[in-house]
Symmetry: C2
Subunit: 338 residues, 2 copies
């Protein structure tokens, strides 16, 4: 191990490599970051330097590199939770697409907490990300403003903002299609003309749109929807569970079919159905605006809608790759797992 030229505790630098290879630091740098063709460095030298770097286990210092260049090649993403397949697949796909472009993805989870979101955004900016994606953010515009102040690009995913371009699902169309399927599946078990129940979701754009799609499908079917049928309780399972109990206490028998906004409130819905025994041996038909393969194969009475994550990320990176555009919303159609 020829480490004479390197101080003991410290990491190897291009200067160490330069003395070791008898070349200049510049040559080493350019060989190591691929700009050496342009500098017409001899292949022999390039090979020698690469070999020595390998032997010595040299690792580039990106902090130094990033400080010097204008771009950091860091791309950040803020995501609310890792507790479901939807956000999980978004992050997996995001990371792989970012890496394919030579970007280093840094993802952080903000627990649906707007203060944490802001903190995380500031931290990412401090680390010099070139671009920040706010996924399902509670206050996307605030994040956009903070980014803009620092000259950082930002984009929204899953939930739209007014100040930056957004890629989201076609929530209204998807909810309409899902509602139609639930209505059809439950036709034999529902009192004719009876609407579905809507459960879960916080008062954001997506929930508003989904409720609109829910209403559209009902009115297309000639069914009136009473406001008491809409339980937009947030995402916590316990809240959905409690809301169902309260509604049943007030109204008596609940509809034999419901629209649930995601797998998270679904947990509370199932829990209540089992615990209350409200439906006896005839479990209600459920449509879920979310998809989980295990849940899907485990159950017979749950129709799951799948958001097109690859499609959404395709659109997202199309925007990232191109020039910054002004705020607009791209809606990606949803799917059913057939």
């Amino acid at each position: 191990m020829a480490k004479e030229s390197k101080a003991p505790g410290r990491r190897m630098t291009i200067y160490d490599l330069a003395t070791l290879s008898g070349a200049s630091p510049t040559a080493v740098s350019s060989v190591l970051n691929g700009t050496w063709k342009k500098r017409r460095i001899s292949v022999a030298l390039a090979e020698r330097i690469t070999r020595i770097a390998d032997e010595q286990g040299y690792a580039l210092n990106m902090q130094a590199s990033g400080l010097r260049r204008d771009k950091s090649h860091l791309i950040g993403m803020i995501v609310p939770k890792y507790d479901n397949r939807y956000f999980g697949s978004i992050v997996e796909k995001f990371e792989s697409m970012a890496r394919d472009r030579g970007l280093f993805p840094i993802v952080t989870c903000t627990q649906r907490d707007s203060e944490l979101e802001i903190q995380a955004a500031r931290a990412m900016i401090a680390h010099q990300v070139d671009c920040l994606i706010a996924t399902g953010a509670t206050d996307p515009d605030r994040i956009t403003e903070i980014c803009a102040a620092a000259g950082v690009r930002s984009l929204n995913l899953d939930l739209p903002g007014r100040l930056a371009p957004s890629v989201i699902s076609d929530n209204r169309g998807g909810a309409n299609a899902l509602t139609q399927r639930i209505l059809a599946a439950s036709a034999g078990d529902r009192v004719p003309g009876q609407p579905l129940l809507y459960v879960g979701g916080r008062p954001d754009h997506n929930t508003t749109e989904r409720i609109q799609g829910f209403r559209d499908a009902h009115s297309e079917a000639g069914i009136a929807v009473d406001d008491t049928m809409i339980l937009a309780t947030g995402y916590a399972p316990e809240k959905a569970e409690r809301a169902l109990g309260e509604l049943a206490a007030k109204h008596g028998k609940l509809p034999a079919a419901m629209f649930v906004s995601s797998t998270i409130p679904l947990e509370g819905v199932i829990r209540w159905i089992k615990a209350s025994g409200h439906f006896g041996d005839c479990p209600p038909h459920i449509g879920c605006f979310d998809w989980d393969p295990l849940v899907s194969v485990l159950t017979e009475n749950i129709i799951m809608l799948r958001q097109d994550v690859p499609g959404m990320l395709q659109e997202l990176f199309k925007m990232i790759d191109s020039e910054p555009a002004d705020a607009r919303v791209i809606e990606v159609p949803t799917l059913f797992q057939e």
Copy 2:
């Protein structure tokens, strides 16, 4: 907006703040990073500087800061997948505990691909992480070696290595307890003396230990386990599904109870059970070495074991916070959701 002192396209620096506040860059720096008490800077000046920094939306450049200091305050984690609650909760907890310590967590998902793991480890080292956690890595020791060569601390989580300290679940004890429960639950439906089926898992330490615990529980119950009952097929649902089909084709009727290594192969198991109709109206008893709250509430015949993620991360950070210790394995007991 007093931005005269700042070049148009560029980000604000401590020098801009210095001219703006009439103080020196040193003063600004020390005020902004909290070392100013030690430098006995006047409270008035400190307040003025902080105010101006706020007004200007100044954001510290961590690349520059990290380059200058010896510690980056970055902590990295490599995780195999985001497709289940176990790794999801590990990452959520890791991020929050890291932030509590003033560290910036960078997490990346490597798809159970050993090449990607190595690449990701190198990338994190290049970004100067102070410490790297390899979670469920296919080749933890390789990662430890790479880290060691760069002078970076590393720790293993979920799967142990020989070269760095590891925090894992008590797989053997957990599997034993789970097996006991499945045996008890299925006592009425199993042919007396008939063993359970073991499904899923790749040939790593955890699977070996779980199979051992599975065998322990059987022999404690006086039941012999034939090797054909062990289907360590890997984690893909399709593989578990196929293996069950093949075993049924060869052996005829399968045991009325099985041990499944996680929710991922469980999907394939359920799919096969439903598609084949092998068990008719009497679905098999299942124990799953993994926990998912929605699955747990949806099913009656599945016993789920929960790994103690908070407990594991507690142990992990205990090691991170203390001095680097030599390689040893800490096993954290598993739980059942009561």
